[in-house]
Each structure stands twice: as structure tokens, then as C-alpha cells.
């Protein structure tokens, strides 16, 4: 499609700066903030037209004296800016109300990566009947519950993942709290049953490794199974999240029955290791 030939398209073309960002030092965020504030000011005099396009150079008007010509004014203003210590040619400021985004886009700016991956996955697992919005609210309540609960008392016989932050830090970072709980209690393997191999109608238990997301999913489902069997203390919409959050705390403190489930799977898996070498499975796994 050929570009439309009108005045505005010409202006738009003119306003684009093709000069690359040459600044060696990153722009301080305060500059953009300040520019934002100034853009709000009513004293900032734009042309009377209230369009989003940059106003046209006032060529149609009678040319003023040489000293007040637009070019001269601009040069003067650039000098003023230089005197203030601001780079007048910074493309992040020039002509942009909010500045240019920093590239590559930081992950929270990207719609698909807005949430922590664990939070995202767990939220979807909390969802029932496709009500994502409710699940998100539940997740927010769970995180707030974790944030307001006292630091967990760890059980040495149920160690968390190596490298987990100390318990006193956990309530300050509820996402980390949740992550630590889920990842710690997640099983490493699952037991696959092969029927028709062992003979006699028995199935052959074979341990199989799990990917990270699979592990989290199984752990969360175990937790939700326990939660479904709990009595809620109160009524209202905050009860399901508070039960989930209590169970997550119980996991971190080593009180949760989910740990037994994990241990059971691991035991069976360890016992069934030999089955990996079953002659009928060789080459199939």
C-alpha cells in the first residue's frame, strides 16, 4: 500500500529519528520520570491542535526575525538543556512523552511473562471451571497469607531444597516461599506401569524422571488433595486460599502429609530401579 500523501504523513516521517542510541551510559530513570511530570504540566505549550501528531513547523506564518526563528529557538533550548546537564539529543527524551522503552524489554513488561513462572503455573492449577480471574485472586490471597504469617520453623528431618533462603526471609518474599515449598516437596520421579511385560497380569513398575513443570504440577496436586480434605475455619471467599496457604506453610515446616507421599514414590522408584534393565524394555525407554 503506498503511503498516504498528506501533510501529517510527511510530519510523521520527519519526526522519526533514525540515529541510533549512541549514549554509552544508560539513561537514569529519573530523567524519564521528570519528563513525564513535565508533560503533565499545563504550561507546556503545544500547538493549539490537540492531535497526537507533532505540530508542524510554523512555515505558513510570517517569518519572524532571525533571532527568534524556530531553528534558532531550538538551538537556544538545546544550549539551555546542555547547561542543565541533560543531553539535548537523547532520543529517549526527544519527542516521546514516556521515553523509549529499554531494550530488550524486561520480562515483567511482557504480557506473557508478567508473573513468576511458578506463580503462573500454580495459579492455573488453582483454577476451577476456567475461572482464571478467581484463581488469580486466590493466588494473591495465598501470597498475602504467606506474607503475614510468622517465619516457619523448619523440621530438620524434612529438609528444604539446598540453597533455599533462611526461614526468616521467606515471609518477605512470598513468591519464593511458595516456590521453595513446591519445589522441595515435588517428587523427582514417577512410576510408570508397563502392563503385559511382567507377566501374570502384573504391571512392571518403572521409575521415570520428571521435568520441572511436571514435578511442580504433581506437588501442587498433592497439596490440593490435602486441602480438599481439610475443614475450613470460616466462611467466605478467603477460606480456600487460606487453607492452601496453611498447607504450604505445613509443607515448609515438614508437617504436611504430602512429604509422605513423596517419600513413598521415591521408595517405590528406588526399589523398582532394577526394572529399568528388564530385557523387554531395553531400547524402549
Amino acid at each position: 500500500m503506498p503511503p498516504r500523501l498528506n501533510v501529517w504523513s510527511a510530519c510523521r516521517a520527519l519526526s522519526i529519528r533514525t540515529r541510533p542510541v549512541t549514549n554509552a551510559t544508560p539513561r537514569p530513570r529519573a530523567a524519564a520520570a521528570l519528563a513525564r511530570g513535565l508533560a503533565d504540566l499545563s504550561t507546556t505549550s503545544h500547538n493549539s491542535s490537540n492531535t497526537n501528531f507533532p505540530p508542524m513547523p510554523q512555515t505558513t506564518e510570517s517569518q519572524p526575525a532571525e533571532s527568534s526563528s524556530p531553528e534558532n529557538q531550538m538551538a537556544l533550548s538545546q544550549l539551555t538543556m546542555a547547561a542543565y546537564g541533560v543531553n539535548p539529543f537523547d532520543p529517549a527524551i526527544e519527542g516521546h512523552k514516556f521515553g523509549l522503552p529499554e531494550l530488550p524489554l524486561p520480562s515483567p513488561m511482557h504480557m506473557k511473562h508478567r508473573y513468576d513462572p511458578v506463580v503462573l503455573q500454580i495459579t492455573k492449577l488453582l483454577m476451577r471451571d476456567g475461572k482464571l480471574s478467581k484463581a488469580q485472586r486466590d493466588m494473591a490471597m495465598i501470597l498475602n497469607y504467606l506474607r503475614t504469617s510468622p517465619p516457619p520453623k523448619l523440621n530438620p528431618s524434612r529438609p528444604l531444597l539446598p540453597g533455599a533462603p533462611p526461614p526468616s526471609h521467606l515471609p518477605f518474599d512470598p513468591v519464593m516461599y511458595l516456590t521453595v515449598a513446591i519445589e522441595s516437596v515435588a517428587p523427582l520421579i514417577r512410576i510408570r506401569g508397563y502392563t503385559g511385560i511382567a507377566g501374570g497380569g502384573h504391571k512392571l513398575d518403572v521409575p521415570a524422571p520428571l521435568a520441572a513443570r511436571q514435578r511442580r504440577r504433581i506437588a501442587m496436586q498433592w497439596i490440593l488433595d490435602v486441602v480438599a480434605k481439610k475443614n475450613s475455619k470460616g466462611s467466605g471467599r478467603g477460606m480456600f486460599p487460606s487453607r492452601v496457604a496453611e498447607e504450604i506453610i505445613a509443607v515448609v515446616e515438614g508437617r504436611s502429609p504430602v512429604w509422605d507421599k513423596r517419600q513413598m514414590v521415591h521408595k517405590v522408584g528406588t526399589a523398582a530401579r532394577a526394572n529399568l534393565n528388564h530385557h523387554k524394555l531395553i531400547g524402549k525407554l
Binding site: 520520570a33 531553528e71 531550538m74 533550548s77 498475602n144 533455599a164
Partner: protein, 475 residues
């Protein structure tokens, strides 16, 4: 150069360097302690022991337990009657995990009148917290539970409202005002601030925390003897209210003495005995309304060292409609025929005056409120009057509408209206800095963040800002 004007507009009016630096305050952010996860867990000795393969039978057992249509037995005892509601309605006012905020000052008696404090976050003194808790002013939906101690943002509307209260006090009149506004703009919070100010300045506070408790037919009622036209008292509710008033205003009540003899009281209270004794005499629901009337009569005596009164109610729309109660003849009872509600509406309309000054405040609620066309009409008329419209140009009833109510409009004939909107950006910034300093909001508070949340929250609607910043799973 293409757009010189634009460039000039954006950049030339830049203030000199230092301003940017002062705007940027570093919020207290926890160092991100990233856990280095590994998929290998420490091996337990007992895990390595060879096990007899017996999982199959267990799986079968589990499968047998789940029969179709059988409700899972959750074990444990279920909560007693009332426990669930108590758990839902419980109010947590502190979070020991939140960081104490430096430089947070307690609200003093005159602080909420001072325009210099607009945009500051200030803490409620502990004594006032107890009083507010007794009067049930805190609500479970407010976010008290995630901060170290109850603190609130002083808004320009707060200072404005309290100054109006203060001026009315000077004229020995009561400010009669309705707080309206969109959802979660902070109407109940503003009421809380007014009540806090009242407690700090030795007002007697009579607060009805949920107007719907009076009109949805959930509490006992009985006709007031010898009332014509007949009114209905709500003995159990009034007894609870008297006890709350007594507990919250104990010091003040102990100082004052009765000047009337009240012959119809169940207990003989001689003249010039302390008002506290009068309040204490309400022990049975049957006598609660008589005691309340006597107490109110004593409190509204002119002079005699009587303090100003703040009479407040949250959820105005609920008392502006027919109640769920019925007369003995099965006629529906108008809410204004309930004695306590009638007292409030009389105070609100000015029919009953508070001679020692004070305020009658009613907050609207938008979350769970019945639609009352007359209330909407009356408030829109007050808004038009305050905007300076001529009397002939005020909004009118639609010609053939039926569901309008003269009694409601009569009550709201002369009230003032405070229309609450979003906070300004400096106020939003101050609030967010408080959140960040408490360690609850983990981001750098700069112009961009404040702008983002302020805009997301529909131009600074406080509740929406909380939703966007605190009640989110995005950190």
C-alpha cells in the same frame, strides 16, 4: 529538525538538576535472595532400603475408598455456630513481618485539621485503635493486616471534612454530611478518620458500623410502648451499641453526671450520678432502648460540660428503604419507623439538634447497597446545589415514576455532600512510599511507578491502587 515546538515543550521547562534527585527516594527493598535450586535432594538412608513391591494393592485400596456420590469425610470437628462468621469478620491490625516504617508519627488531636499534613501517612495511636476496634470501625476488607501498625493516608478530603466539623463545633452546630463516591474510593476510611479525630478530641462517638444490620430483619424488634405513630426498637442491637459506646467513651462518661431524673429506667439512677452508671444500667435487652434514650437525652443537654457528639453510620442506602420487618398487621415497616434509625435520620435532617456541636456523618456504600431512587435523586440535588445551580434547575423526579419516597427526600433536604474521588498523585506517591517502606510493595517508587498504579487505579482510586499493588500475585 522536524518538531521544534514539541521538543521545546518537552524539554526546555526542565527544572534545575537537584529536583530529580530529591524525588527519587530509595524504597526499602529486600535483597533478592535467589535460591539456587538443584533437583538432587539429600538421600535418606531408609529410602535406599529394598522394599517389598506392594504398591499395587495400595492403589486398589485407594480406588475402593472413592465411591460415587459419597461425600469425603473431612475428619476433625466442624466449627461451632458463629465461629465461621467470627473467623470471616476477624480484624487483624498488625503484621509482624512488615518492616517498621521510620518517621511514621502518631496522629495528634489537631493533626488531621492541619493542611500541612495532607499527603502524609500517619499512625493511629494505640488508645484510639482500641476505641475504634470497640466501635467496630475497622472493616475486614481493609488492608490493615499486612502492615506493622494501623496507619492511614491523610487526604485533602480528610482535612477538608474535619475542618468543616471543627467550624461547626465553633458555632455549636452539627455538621450534617453524607459521604458519597465510587466503589473503594475510601468512604468508610474517611469515616474512620473522622471517628479517629473525634476520639482524639474527646467527642462522644456513636457509630453504627453496618446499617444493613438494622434493616434486613436480622435482629430482634418490638414496638416501643406509648409511641404514636408506632415505632420499633431493636433491643439486642441497641444493647450492643450501648455497651460499645460505654467501652469506647468510658473516660468521658465517667466525668459527666446526669441532670435529669429518669423515672422509667429499670434501675434507679439518682440525679448527678455519673453517666457511666446510666450506661451500665443497660443489662437486659428489654430496657436497652429506654437507657439509650436517657443517655442520648443527657448527652444532648446544652452546656454542663457536655462534649460534642459524632453520630455516624456506614451504609446509608440500607436505612432509606422499607425494612424486612413487618408490623403485627403484616404491613412492611419503613426503616425510618425503627427507633434507632429514626433517631439517626432526625439528627441527619436536623430535626434533632446536637447543641454542643459535633457531626452527623453518613457514608454511602457501593458494594452491597440497595437501589434507592429517592436517595440518588436527593444526593444529585445536593450536588447540583453545591455546584451553584439555581433552585429551578435542580434534578427532578421522573414524571411517572412510582418508587420514590418522600420521607427519604425530606431527610436529605439540607445535608451537605462530600463526593469522594481518587487521590492526587502526590498523595498516591506518599502512600506507595509507605507501602514500599513497609516492605510490602517491592519496587522502586518513582514517578513512573506511581503514575502507572495511579492510572491503573482509575485516576487514583485508593482501593484499586491497593488491588493493583498489594493484592496481586505480581511481584
Amino acid at each position: 529538525m522536524s518538531a521544534p515546538n514539541c521538543l521545546r515543550g518537552c524539554l526546555v521547562q526542565r527544572p534545575a538538576g537537584g529536583a530529580a534527585a530529591t524525588l527519587l527516594r530509595h524504597s526499602t527493598v529486600m535483597p533478592a535472595t535467589a535460591a539456587h535450586f538443584s533437583t538432587s535432594t539429600p538421600l535418606h538412608g531408609n529410602m535406599m532400603k529394598p522394599q517389598k513391591p506392594g504398591p499395587k494393592s495400595k492403589v486398589l485400596l485407594v480406588a475402593k475408598q472413592w465411591k460415587k456420590g459419597k461425600v469425603a469425610d473431612r475428619g476433625g470437628k466442624s466449627p461451632l455456630p458463629g465461629e465461621r462468621k467470627a473467623f470471616r469478620k476477624r480484624i487483624l491490625l498488625s503484621n509482624n513481618n512488615a518492616l517498621p516504617v521510620e518517621g511514621l508519627t502518631y496522629i495528634g488531636p489537631g493533626d488531621l485539621l492541619d493542611h500541612k499534613n495532607v499527603g502524609k501517612v500517619m499512625s493511629i495511636p494505640d488508645a484510639a485503635v482500641d476505641q475504634l476496634r470497640t466501635a467496630e470501625v475497622f472493616k475486614p476488607t481493609q488492608t490493615w493486616s499486612i502492615f506493622r501498625k494501623p496507619s492511614m493516608l491523610v487526604r485533602s478530603e480528610t482535612v477538608d471534612l474535619l475542618n468543616r466539623m471543627h467550624t461547626a463545633l465553633g458555632k455549636e452546630k452539627a455538621l450534617r454530611l453524607v459521604i458519597a463516591g465510587d466503589r473503594i474510593t475510601g468512604k468508610s476510611m474517611l469515616l474512620l478518620q473522622a471517628i479517629t479525630h473525634a476520639y482524639l478530641n474527646d467527642y462522644i462517638v456513636i457509630h453504627i458500623p453496618e446499617a444493613q444490620e438494622l434493616s434486613i430483619g436480622a435482629t430482634e424488634y418490638a414496638p416501643v410502648p406509648h409511641s404514636d405513630p408506632v415505632q420499633f426498637m431493636q433491643p439486642n442491637y441497641v444493647l450492643k451499641l450501648i455497651q460499645a459506646i460505654r467501652k469506647a467513651n468510658e473516660k468521658l462518661l465517667a466525668k459527666m453526671t446526669t441532670i435529669y431524673s429518669h423515672p422509667d429506667l429499670p434501675q434507679n439512677i439518682p440525679v448527678s450520678s455519673p453517666l457511666l452508671a446510666l450506661a451500665n444500667s443497660a443489662k437486659e435487652p428489654e430496657s436497652a432502648w429506654i437507657v439509650f434514650r436517657a443517655l442520648f437525652q443527657e448527652l444532648t443537654v446544652k452546656g454542663h460540660g457536655r462534649p460534642p457528639i459524632l453520630f455516624s453510620l456506614d451504609g446509608l442506602a440500607h436505612i432509606m428503604k422499607m425494612s424486612e420487618y413487618r408490623t403485627a398487621a403484616f404491613e412492611p415497616i419503613h426503616s425510618h419507623d425503627l427507633a434507632l434509625v429514626r433517631l439517626f435520620t432526625d439528627c441527619l435532617s436536623g430535626a434533632v439538634s446536637l447543641p454542643n456541636g459535633g457531626a452527623v456523618l453518613a457514608a454511602m456504600t457501593r458494594g452491597n447497597a440497595p437501589r434507592v431512587p429517592s436517595l440518588d435523586l436527593a444526593l444529585s440535588r445536593r450536588a447540583a446545589e453545591q455546584a451553584g445551580r439555581h433552585k429551578n434547575q435542580l434534578p427532578q423526579r421522573p414524571a411517572f415514576a412510582k418508587d420514590y419516597d418522600d420521607r427519604v427526600e425530606a431527610v436529605l433536604q439540607t445535608v451537605e455532600l462530600l463526593q469522594l474521588q481518587g487521590v492526587s498523585k502526590p498523595e498516591a506517591r506518599s502512600l506507595m512510599e509507605y507501602w514500599a517502606a513497609s516492605g510490602v510493595l517491592r519496587s522502586l517508587i518513582d514517578e513512573a511507578t506511581v503514575s502507572e498504579k495511579w492510572t491503573l487505579a482509575g485516576n487514583g482510586i485508593v482501593g484499586e491502587m491497593e488491588r493493583a499493588a498489594l493484592l496481586t500475585s505480581r511481584f
